[in-house]
Amino acid sequence: MAVDTDTTAVDARGRLRQVPVQELVLPIVIIALIIVGVIIRPGVFLTSDNLLNVLTQASITGIIAIGMTFVIATGGIDLSVGSALAAASIAGGLLMPYGSWMFMIGALAMALLIGAINGAAIVWGKVVPFIATLAMLTIARGLALWMAERTPISLIELDILQWFGSGRVLGIPVPALIFVIVAVVGWVVLNRTTFGRRAVAVGGNRSAARIAGIRPGRVIFAVYVLTGLCVGISAILLSGRLASASPVVGNLVELDAIAAVVIGGTALTGGKATVTGTFFGVITFGLIFNLLNLLNMPTEIQGVVKGLLILVAVALQRRD
């Protein structure tokens, strides 16, 4: 997936900046986790089955995190993704009688709508992203419960949908595959299209962006819609995996996604974003979760260990 920005890491005097070290931290952490995994659960951890399992698990949050990278690049945040995931699943679920494709259309439409409302509230309603999407967190969850009448919708009859959740292509689980595709497309969009450059520009210096003729409002609106799209894709994969649409899924997905993005190196203040970093961040969390589970750690110890690992990983990346 290569390096994200096309800036060299050499400063005015030709000295190497410390950035590369930072960018290497996550891969190193990942390798360390894998080594630990091999040592403590030999024969279980390092199987292609288990690693694909990690990737599949990571895919739901991961796809959302890719969208979130763009939101955070503009200096925003989207706290509503978890509830939006539930609302999208249920919206699709209501169309269940019409088949898998209608499910997908419904889920995507709901997710895009939520993204668009977020964007509109932020851009035209001038509500700060944190609050706008926090309100949406509450609204979307309410909507999901209301539409579902509080009970999960079984999707056991939707074969195509279930293929998206648990099918395989050349031995690779479909969600894992789609996650990788989304990550690659996200990388290209961020680094190789005007839209990506503009999202970073708006986050880095909004007035500079305006001066350059960019319309920041449009870009900001677009990143929330983009995240909506990612949520929609995730909702399809998740519902397929669960063969049911539940109004209570997606709890705290927002924090996991944001954490992955930030650990990856995207600045919460905006103006600096890396999809590669996000990808590694998602994988790191996936591995931590997988390892702690393989070790059968009780929840409370998992919490402590996970928190400490996050701290260590980020402290290693600290600047200078």
Binding site: D6, T7, T8, R197, A201, N205, S207, I211, A212
Partner: protein, 505 residues
């Protein structure tokens, strides 16, 4: 459509009201192709607002802007850009974490299909730098790693990338040293020769005579004089600007005393500052000259303890300062007015009072509480003593002009009654009127026994009233000159490296 014989840009009756402030009150301006039109005026006169109306960044309240005879849509930067109006704004307008090439082509990227054509953008960026005579900047470098002067060049390249018919430069020389300004003149002259019209805004009135073809003076949002010839005496220009006579620009040098108040020995942080040593006496004004990037700012930061030193020491009044502790430096009697006024000197949303009192809050402590009344009283007194205009100490700093903002920073150290004041480019972006006031304040402080170290990129002001001038070159202090008797030539001779060919680091 376009009328070749008519003026390039015609501004008629332009009015811009901000809530509570009339920034422009009916301005007229005519710019012709191939000419450098100098726009001068005091801080807050409305120069930046005027050009922002032209460039579409700000929507005027009334009035019209015609470009090549056609009415320009208002409040649409893209329309202005598309018609060939390129603007370099006063505030650096780059995106820090994007590459140089991305910044240059921001908003009008080259594409190949849906993707960016990076090769083409790099190639053209290189070509633009060549045209600007500055080939030392890599198109792939991240803008945040560049020095301000280099960033200025990137802004220029961006303006030129639009194949502009009208180029607007808002105080481009503020961050440049004399050598770089000279290079920029060359670029502008080449462009005008190609038929480009230029609006040049500056507080350095000397530039008017060197570069300008016509001069317009703004005062309080109105055109007070226009189409003045470039050889108009500076005195006349100043009279138009301030609306009256002005006393001598530079105050007299007072005597300096014999007591040493600051001693710097062998201060080093390679490669920016190497083995810098000097002493400063009470009441002395010591100038620090040098090209941009010669290490003057870094030297002040090292003295003040803002950056870690590699070796060397600083003594104030005979006592050694612990390194890396600005708070203790302040306690020992040091004060710093930083170079980047807005980003390092001020809280723009705070009142002038708060900006003034921040370095000495404990003075107003009554028991556990802050005595707001005496804070206000003392701060207002010092602001007033500097003749801060308007006299509204409770107003947010953002609403004051650059020169008056600078006074708040100075008042901060007056309040703290420090012994040594380190001033980094104290007059950058400050109009002549305010400048002479600031000079006077500095001279007054010195007369009261405060030692002053003043960094400036304008040799005229260093030689105008400093006792001594130290010249820095590539991190070394290479020369010491007497302020009263030396000439700009003397300084430049020491400041410019012998092998000086390009400005690149």
């Amino acid at each position: 459509m376009s009328d070749a014989s008519g003026p390039l840009l015609e501004v008629r009756g332009l009015v811009k009201d901000y809530p509570g402030v009339r920034a422009l009150g009916g301005v007229d301006l005519t710019v012709t192709s191939g000419q450098v039109h100098c726009l001068i005026g005091q801080n807050g006169a409305g120069k930046s607002t005027l050009i922002k109306c032209v460039s579409g960044l700000v929507e005027p309240t009334a009035g019209e802007v015609r470009f090549e005879g056609d009415l320009l849509p208002v409040g649409d930067p893209n329309a202005s850009i598309a018609r060939g109006i390129a603007t370099i704004y006063q505030e650096l307008d780059l995106v820090p974490h994007l590459s140089v090439a991305n910044n240059v082509f921001l908003g009008h990227e080259h594409k190949r299909g849906p993707l960016l054509n990076r090769a083409a953008m790099h190639r053209e960026t290189k070509a633009l730098f060549a045209r600007l005579g500055d080939e030392g900047i890599s198109p792939t470098a991240e803008v945040s790693t560049l020095r301000p002067a280099q960033q200025q060049v990137v802004s220029m390249a961006r303006a030129l990338s639009h194949s502009a018919k009208l180029l607007i430069l808002d105080e481009p020389s503020a961050v440049l040293d004399d050598v770089e300004v000279e290079a920029l003149f060359g670029v502008v002259r080449r462009l005008t020769a190609e038929g480009v019209g230029v609006i040049w805004i500056s507080h350095r009135l000397g530039e008017v005579g060197q570069l300008g073809d016509v001069v317009t003076v703004l005062k309080e949002g109105r055109t007070v004089a226009t189409e003045l010839p470039p050889d108009t005496p500076v005195d006349t220009l100043i009279r138009h600007m301030v609306g009256g006579r002005m006393e001598a620009l530079f105050p007299d040098r007072g005597p300096s005393r014999d007591t040493t108040v600051l001693e710097v020995r062998g201060l080093t942080r390679t490669p920016d500052v190497v083995d810098a040593s000097f002493t400063l006496r009470e009441g002395e004004i010591l100038g620090l000259a040098g090209l941009v990037g010669s290490g003057r700012t870094e030297l002040l930061r090292l003295i003040y303890g803002l950056d870690p030193v590699q070796s060397g020491e600083v003594e104030v009044g005979g006592r050694r300062l612990p390194p890396g502790r600005p708070d203790l430096a302040i306690r020992a009697g040091l004060g710093l007015a930083p170079e980047e006024r807005k980003s390092e000197g001020l809280w723009l949303d705070w009142s002038m009072v708060r900006n003034t009192s921040i370095a000495d809050l404990s003075r107003f402590r009554r028991g556990p509480f802050t005595d707001l009344a005496s804070e206000r009283r003392d701060a207002a007194r010092h602001l007033r003593s500097l003749n801060t205009q308007p006299d509204a100490p409770e107003r947010a700093a953002r609403l004051f002009s650059g020169g008056n903002q600078q006074k708040a920073v100075l008042a901060r150290w007056l309040l703290r009654s420090c012994r040594v004041l380190l001033l980094d480019e104290p007059t950058r972006g400050v109009d002549v009127g305010a400048r002479s006031e600031i000079y006077r304040v500095i001279a007054d402080l010195a007369a009261n026994g405060i030692g002053i170290v003043m960094v400036s990129s304008e040799l005229a002001e260093l030689l105008g009233f400093c006792h001594r001038v130290l010249v820095m070159r590539e991190g070394h202090i290479v020369d010491e000159l007497d302020g009263a008797t030396s000439t700009e030539e003397d300084v430049l001779q020491s400041a410019v490296p012998v092998h000086h060919t390009t400005k690149a680091g």
